[in-house]
Subunit: 168 residues, 2 copies
DNA sequence: CCGATCTTTCAATTAGTTTTGAAACTTATG
DNA sequence: CATAAGTTTCAAAACTAATTGAAAGATCGG
């Protein structure tokens, strides 16, 4: 496979994968494109290479920036804005973890806490089972939360060295 | 909040959450409904409680069964099939992990391995960077794989006890 | 402060996904 | 084996999400 073909393959597969992860296809594709680009790209470059509209590129790049996966760079003497992706994959991964934790896990825990406080006799079997279910989901969520926080703070070396050893 | 209301809230929020996770709303809702149901339910029960069509219930229950999150139970003397959800949340979580690993991570690693073998001079800067990027994503993916395998095999107690301690 | 260049917004459209419902199929029962 | 009870399938319809593109908004240099 030639380099150009391989890059295209990567971009489109990455996009397809993103779909399963609540990330829209185009956002994932733009990210992939920037990941494998040696140089910063402009919005026009992205438009052209992925054959998508200006508005679409703009919205998705902004989203990527809000995830801290992409940043704007100014090139001296150029009017246009350029964009680059964070190339350190460990940083990319921990960044995504942090965002998803904030957007999904935290709200879920909040909900479960509310639902645990359902009215009614705790001796009633129905009520008891419900409260227990909310509690056990919440406990799991909190533990996952701690793991994610731990990993997010950790260095890649520590992850590979210590954590993987503990996990056999 | 009353029990019935709390259950409804749980079912609908769980559905909304599912949406961000590549799981369709109805599948997540059915799962939630079965999770908080004291008794096994029939397809008709689910149809009624969630106001959705027979076909929809059938397809999504089948999908849940293929994820090993729900199982069919036969009740002696009854013609109809009943369904129950796995209530042990740790098992639910590890089961979901296993499925997603199989459906998403494994294919991704396969792709990266192919792309690493791109043609061209490894001294060429473009080629070199691409190969390195594929390699580092692959390494990360393999490590995540190991973590998931470790956690999937582990008991919940071990997870809470040992892993959380290591992570501080 | 003017015009040129570039970026952002958003209503309308298009594409993609989910849901329905009726028909086909399967299985239990008298 | 005929019929009733239950399950599955799938094409069409409904719904949801992504995309476009044109217009409005910024920003820069002179």
């Amino acid at each position: 496979m030639k380099l150009t073909e391989a890059k295209n393959q990567f971009v489109s597969s990455w996009g397809a994968l993103g779909t399963h992860w609540g990330i829209n296809r185009t956002m994932a594709q733009i990210h992939a494109l920037l990941l494998v680009s040696t140089n910063p790209l402009t919005q026009d470059d992205v438009m052209e290479q992925l054959s998508i509209s200006r508005g679409n590129v703009n919205m998705n790049i902004r989203e990527l920036i809000s995830w801290h996966l992409v940043e704007r760079v100014i090139i001296a003497g150029e009017r246009k804005e350029y964009f680059i992706a964070e190339k350190d994959i460990w940083k990319v991964a921990t960044q995504i973890m942090k965002e998803r934790k904030k957007r999904e896990l935290d709200p879920m825990l909040k909900l479960l806490t509310q639902l645990e406080n359902v009215e009614g006799d705790k001796k009633d079997k129905e009520v008891k089972q419900f409260v227990e279910m909310m509690g056990s989901i919440k406990t799991l969520g909190k533990n996952v939360n701690k793991v994610l926080e731990g990993v997010a703070k950790a260095e890649e070396k520590w992850f590979v060295g210590t954590l993987l050893k503990v996990l056999k």
